[in-house]
Amino acid sequence: MKIERLIKMANDISDFFNAESDKEAAAEGVRNHIIRSWDPRMRREIIAYLESDGSELSSLAKIAISKIPLPQ
C-alpha cells in the first residue's frame, strides 16, 4: 500500500481527536479508530513505517500507532 496514503489517513484521524484536551484520551481515540477500521495489512505497514521513520506522522498519530499491537 502507498505509505503516503496511510500516513495521511492516520494524520487526518489524529486531527479529529486533537480536539480532546486529554492527550492520552486523544491517543486512545486514534488507536481505537485505527484498530477498528483498518485492515491488518494497513496496520502492519503503518507500524513498520513508524518503527523505520515516522517523520511524516503527527505527534498524536505517533503516540497512538506506537500502542497498536502488530496484527498476526
Binding site: K2, D12, F16, A19, S37
Partner: protein
C-alpha cells in the same frame, strides 16, 4: 390478478380525532369531524357521482355533479365541499338530483369528442363512467356549436400527451401540480368558455416549469393527460405493488402490466413513503429495464483486451470461482473481496457479504455507501448509537423550522421534497445551508428565511458557529441534555463550543457567511418550536464529513430536537437501498445490524449460524482495495450492481487498480464502465425481475416484487448463491423470504421482520422486534441506542481541507445531481429522461465567466491536481463567485477525473464536494476523454465480437 383500482373517496381524509354521526340515504355513518359528505358516503359504499373531486387534493366544488340534498337545508350543496355535521340527513339520489346531474353531464359531453371506442382512456375514463352513472342518453346541443374539439395536442413531453380537446377544465391537474407536487406549473387560463389548462405562460409542457412528476396525469379524469405508453399499448390488465429502484425515498408503485410488459408505473396511494406521489424517474423512467443494451448472457474472457465470449451460466460461474480460488492460492486468503450494491435488495446484499465473509474467508466487503453516507453511519452511531435517520418522512408535517444542509431535496429526493414544500407553504420556516442556490431557497410560495451560502469545505465551521450561538445565548434545552444525554460529554462540549474561536464573527472570514445571518438562523432553529434537520451528500462527502454529521447530532441534542414528531436528524439517502445495504453488513468492519466484526458474541453468533470460522479483523474499504490492487496484494473482485469505474473519485487511479487485478467479476444489467475492466460478466436482474425488499431513508423496509421473469434467467440472489456453491461454501435458499428469515434471526433490529408481516402492514420501519412489533417510525423517543441509553456529545474542531485554492487552481469545484438523472446515469441515460439533461455541464458564476471570456455553451477545460476534463459551461448566478458546479451522470464527462483522493478522516468517504480547479476556454476534449472514448469504443467492439461469436 387484476388491475386492482384503488378506491377514490373523493376528498382527503380528515385528521380530526372527534367523530360525528349522520345519516346518508337512510344509513347511519360515523366519521371524523371535517370529513366531506362525499367521503362519508363513499366510506359506506355510497358513491356520489363526481368529476372535479379526487381524494389526493382538496375539494373544489366546480363540476356540480356531486350535488346532494340535506333535510332542512336549502338548495343542492356540493357533497365534496360540504362537511359532515352531527345528525345531518343526506339524500344522494332522487329525481331532482338525477336531472341536475344529467344536465351537467350533457353540457360536458356537448363539448367532448365522442370517440370513446378508440380513445386511449377507454375503460379507464371517469367521464365515461359518470355518463353511465347519471344515465346520459342524449345530447341535445348542436354539435356544430362553439367547441374545443379542434384544440391542438401538446406532445412535447416524452412520457405523456396533453389533448385539450378532451379537457373538461375540472382543474384536477392544476390543483395536483400545486398541492401534491408544489411546482405551480399549470394554471387555468382565460374565463368562462375560454378557460383552458395552460402549462406555464401558455407554453408547451416541455417549455414550462413542469417537472414531469405525473401528478397531473394521475389526477386527470379523462384522456386529456395520459401516458404515451397507454396510448401506444392500451390499458393494462393487472397490477403488482412494488418499490421504486431510484432514490432513497423508496416510493411504492403499482406496476400496471399487460402480461410481462410494464404499461405504466402508478404511485401507490397506500405507499407510506410517498402517499400516491411520484417523480419523473420512478413514474416514467423504467424503460431501461428492457433496453436493448441489457446483457442477458454470461460472458468470460481471460484478458480485458480480449473479446468477450458468451458462455453458459455453469461455465461462467465455475470460471469465476476457479479464478477467485486460484488468486487466493497464489496471493493469500485476503487477496479477494467484493462490493455490494445499494441498488440491489436487502436479501441480495446480505448474501454477497455472507459469501465474502463465509465463502471468501475475509471481511473485504464494502458498498457504495463508502462514497456517500458512510459518515452518516459513523457519526450517528457514535452520538445516537444507531446508524440511521431518526424520523419517518411524515414527521416533517409537524416541523416548525426545517434546516436543509448540503441536500437538494427537490432534485435528489423529489417526492419528499414535495412533502417538505407542502409543510413550508403551511408556514414552517426554512434554513438552507448550501454553497449553491438550490430550488428550495426560492420557489413558488416557498422562500428560505436564511440561506447560509457557505464556502465549500466549511460545514463544520458553520455548524460550530450555530451551536456556539445556541449555547452562548442560552438557547439550549438543558433539561433534555441532562435527562437524555451523557452529562459529562454535554458539559465538555458546552465548554468547547462556547470558545471564542467558534463565534460566528470569528469564523466569518472562513465560512463566507455573515455572523448576523448565522446568529439569526441559530436563534430560529433553537426557538421556533419543532426543529428538523435534513442533510445530504453536501455534508458527508468532505474530509470532515463525519465531523459534520457529529456536529449536526450535537446541535439537535443540545436543542432537544429529538425523540418526537417534527424534529430529528434525517440523512437523505442517495440510492434506493443505501440504508438497507448498510444495515445488511456491507461494511468491512461490521456484521449486519452494525455490530463490529471483532465483537466476540456477534462473531460467534454468525460463525455458528453460518457453520464456518469467521475473521474478526476489519477488511479493506473500497479505496483501500484499489491501493492494495496496485501494490499486488488484492487481485480479485466481485462487484454486484455498482459502477466504481465511474462513480469513485480520482478515476484514473481506480482504472489503474482495476487493470491491475487478475479477475474482476461484474454482475450488472448493463456493460457498465466497471465491466469494461472485467473478466467475468454475470447478467443481473432489474428491480422488476426479482423479489426482495428495499429499505429507504426512513428505515422503511418495503417489498420489491417480481413483475416479469428475469431476462437472464436468474434473480441476483440466485447468482450469488451459485457462485458461493461453486466456491465451496454451500447456500441453499429457495426463496428470498428464507434469507430475510435468517436476517431476522441474526439481527436484533430486524427480529420481528418477515415477509408475512411486510405483506400485512405494507412496509415496516426497523427496529422491529418484541418491543416494537409493528416497527419504529420515530427513534430515540425514550432513550438513545447507545449501551447506556444516553446521547453522546463529541468535540468537533474545524480542520480545513487539505484541498486549497491557489493561483494555479483558483476555483472550487463542487458536484451534485439533477432531477431527471440518477447517479451514474446507467439507468436514466437509457430513458427519455435525456430530454431534460443530455449532458453534464459546468455551472460558473457570471463574474468568473467574464474573467475567462466564457459565455453559455462554451467548451471549458476543468483542470485539478488529479486530472483534466472538458465540459460545456452554463453561466449561472446559482453558484457563488469562486465556485463551479457540475453533475456526474455521464461517463464521458469525466467529473471524477478531476476529483481528488482526499477523503473523510473516519470513513474514507471521498471529498467530492471540494476540488480546487482552474477553468479555461478550450476547443477540444481533454486527453483523458480522448483516451476514454477510444477505450470505451474498443470495449464495445469486444462485446459485439463476443455476442456475434456466441
Amino acid at each position: 390478478m387484476s388491475i386492482d383500482k384503488e378506491k377514490d373517496f373523493g376528498t382527503p381524509a380528515s385528521t380530526a380525532t372527534d367523530n360525528v354521526t349522520l345519516e346518508i340515504d337512510g344509513f347511519s355513518v360515523t366519521v371524523p369531524t371535517g370529513t366531506s359528505i362525499m367521503r362519508a358516503a363513499s366510506s359506506i359504499g355510497i358513491e356520489i357521482p363526481k368529476l372535479c373531486a379526487t381524494d389526493s387534493i382538496e375539494p373544489f366544488g366546480s363540476c356540480r355533479l356531486c350535488v346532494v340534498q340535506i333535510e332542512g337545508g336549502r338548495g343542492m350543496p356540493a357533497s365534496c365541499t360540504t362537511p359532515v355535521a352531527e345528525g345531518l340527513k343526506v339524500v344522494t339520489q332522487n329525481q331532482k338530483l338525477a336531472d341536475v346531474r344529467r344536465g351537467v353531464m350533457e353540457l360536458y359531453i356537448s363539448d367532448h369528442p365522442l370517440d370513446c371506442l378508440t380513445c386511449s382512456a377507454n375503460g379507464d375514463c371517469e367521464l365515461q363512467d359518470m355518463a353511465g352513472a347519471v344515465g346520459l342518453r342524449e345530447v341535445r346541443y348542436n354539435p356544430q356549436g362553439k367547441n374545443h374539439l379542434k384544440a391542438v395536442k401538446d406532445e412535447s413531453n416524452p412520457y405523456f400527451s396533453f389533448d385539450p380537446s378532451k379537457c373538461i377544465v375540472c382543474s384536477r391537474c392544476v390543483r395536483a401540480c400545486e398541492e401534491t407536487q408544489g411546482t405551480f406549473a399549470l394554471t387555468l387560463d382565460g374565463r368562462g368558455f375560454d378557460s383552458k389548462v395552460s402549462p406555464g405562460q401558455n407554453q408547451a409542457f416541455m417549455e414550462s416549469e413542469c417537472v414531469s412528476c405525473g401528478a397531473c396525469v394521475q389526477a386527470c379524469p379523462t384522456a386529456t393527460l395520459i401516458e404515451k405508453s397507454v396510448i401506444a399499448q392500451g390499458q393494462p390488465e393487472h397490477s403488482i405493488v412494488t418499490t421504486c429502484a431510484y432514490c432513497g425515498v423508496g416510493c411504492s408503485f403499482r406496476a400496471e402490466m399487460k402480461g410481462e410488459q410494464v404499461i405504466r408505473m402508478v404511485p401507490h396511494k397506500d405507499g407510506k413513503a410517498n402517499h400516491g406521489h411520484s417523480c419523473v424517474k420512478g413514474r416514467f423512467a423504467f424503460g431501461y429495464a428492457t433496453h436493448k443494451d441489457r446483457i442477458t448472457k454470461p460472458m468470460i474472457r481471460a484478458n480485458i483486451k480480449d473479446a468477450w465470449r458468451e458462455v453458459s451460466w455453469e461455465e461462467a460461474i465455475n470460471y469465476a470461482a476457479s479464478e477467485l480460488k486460484r488468486i487466493q492460492t497464489k496471493y493469500g486468503r485476503d487477496s479477494i473481496g467484493g462490493i455490494t450494491s445499494s441498488r440491489c435488495t436487502n436479501e441480495e446484499t446480505y448474501l454477497v457479504q455472507k459469501l465474502i465473509r463465509a465463502g471468501f474467508g475475509n471481511n473485504n466487503v464494502d458498498t457504495c455507501a463508502r462514497v456517500c453516507h458512510s459518515p452518516t453511519g459513523y457519526g450517528l452511531k457514535q452520538t445516537f448509537g444507531e446508524s440511521s435517520g431518526t424520523q419517518d418522512f411524515d414527521s416533517v408535517m409537524h416541523s416548525d423550522v426545517i434546516m436543509v444542509i448540503g441536500a437538494n431535496p427537490t432534485d435528489g429526493h423529489p417526492v419528499f421534497g414535495s412533502m417538505m414544500k407542502k409543510r413550508l407553504r403551511q408556514g414552517a420556516k426554512l434554513i438552507v445551508i448550501d454553497p449553491r442556490e438550490i430550488d428550495l431557497v426560492k420557489s413558488p410560495h416557498v422562500q428560505a428565511s436564511h440561506h447560509l451560502k457557505l464556502r465549500p469545505g466549511t460545514n463544520v465551521a458553520v455548524m460550530n458557529a450555530l451551536a456556539h450561538v445556541v449555547v452562548t445565548e442560552n438557547l439550549q434545552d438543558d433539561a433534555f441534555a441532562h435527562e437524555r444525554c451523557d452529562v459529562a460529554s454535554f458539559a465538555k462540549w458546552k465548554a468547547f463550543i462556547s470558545g471564542p474561536q467558534h463565534a460566528p464573527e470569528a469564523l466569518e472570514a472562513i465560512t463566507g457567511v455573515s455572523a448576523a445571518e448565522i446568529r439569526a438562523a441559530a436563534r430560529l432553529y433553537a426557538t421556533a418550536g419543532n426543529g428538523a434537520i435534513y442533510y445530504g451528500l453536501g455534508v458527508t462527502e468532505h474530509s470532515q464529513g463525519s465531523t459534520t454529521v457529529i456536529s449536526i447530532a450535537n446541535l439537535a441534542m443540545a436543542t432537544g430536537n429529538l425523540g418526537r414528531d417534527g424534529v430529528g436528524v434525517n440523512p437523505l439517502r442517495g440510492q434506493n437501498n443505501v440504508q438497507g445495504s448498510c444495515d445488511m453488513g456491507s461494511f468491512p468492519h461490521e456484521f449486519p445490524g452494525y455490530r463490529h466484526v471483532s465483537d466476540s458474541v456477534t462473531l460467534e453468533l454468525f460463525a455458528d449460524a453460518w457453520n464456518v470460522d469467521l475473521s474478526g479483523e476489519p477488511g479493506l474499504r473500497i479505496p483501500n482495495m484499489f491501493d492494495a490492487a496496485l501494490d499486488g496484494s488484492f487481485m480479485g473482485l466481485y462487484v454486484e450492481g455498482e459502477d466504481i469505474a465511474q462513480s469513485d473519485p480520482d478515476i484514473q487511479h481506480v482504472h489503474a487498480a482495476l487493470r491491475a487485478m487478475e479477475c474482476v467479476i461484474v454482475q450488472d444489467i448493463f456493460l457498465n464502465e466497471t465491466a469494461k475492466f472485467a473478466h467475468v460478466f454475470l447478467p443481473g436482474a432489474s428491480f422488476l425481475e426479482k423479489n426482495g425488499t428495499f429499505t429507504n431513508a426512513e428505515r422503511r423496509i418495503s417489498p420489491v416484487r417480481k413483475v416479469m421473469r428475469p431476462l437472464a434467467g436468474y434473480q441476483d440472489w440466485e447468482v450469488t448463491q451459485l457462485l458461493s456453491n461453486a466456491m465451496g461454501y454451500s447456500m441453499n435458499y429457495n426463496d428470498p423470504s428464507e434469507i430475510m428469515d435468517e436476517i431476522a434471526r441474526l439481527t436484533p433490529s430486524f427480529a420481528g421482520v418477515s415477509y408475512a408481516k411486510i405483506d400485512e402492514l405494507g412496509s415496516i420501519q426497523w427496529p422491529c422486534n418484541e418491543q416494537t412489533p409493528e416497527g419504529t417510525p420515530i427513534m430515540h423517543e425514550q432513550t438513545f441506542m447507545r449501551d447506556n441509553g444516553k446521547g453522546l456529545f463529541m468535540l468537533t474542531e474545524f480542520v480545513a481541507t487539505k484541498e486549497r485554492v491557489n493561483s494555479k487552481y483558483p476555483l472550487i469545484l463542487t458536484t451534485g445531481r439533477i432531477l431527471s438523472q440518477y447517479n451514474v446515469g446507467a439507468q436514466t441515460r437509457r430513458t427519455e429522461n435525456v430530454a431534460w439533461h443530455a449532458e453534464d455541464r459546468l455551472e460558473i458564476h457570471p463574474h468568473d465567466a467574464e474573467e475567462r471570456g466564457l459565455t453559455d455553451n462554451d467548451w471549458v477545460g476543468i483542470k485539478s491536481r488529479a486530472g483534466e476534463t472538458v465540459l460545456r459551461c452554463l453561466v449561472s448566478n446559482r453558484v457563488q463567485p469562486g465556485v463551479v458546479y457540475t453533475t456526474f451522470h455521464f461517463p464521458e464527462s469525466g467529473a471524477n477525473v478531476i476529483t481528488t483522493d482526499n477523503s473523510d478522516w473516519a470513513t474514507n468517504c471521498p471529498e467530492y464536494k471540494v476540488t480546487a480547479v482552474q477553468v479555461t476556454k478550450v476547443s477540444q476534449t481533454s486527453d483523458w476523454q480522448s483516451k476514454y472514448q477510444a477505450f470505451s469504443d474498443n470495449q464495445l467492439e469486444l462485446l459485439a465480437q463476443g455476442v456475434t461469436n456466441g
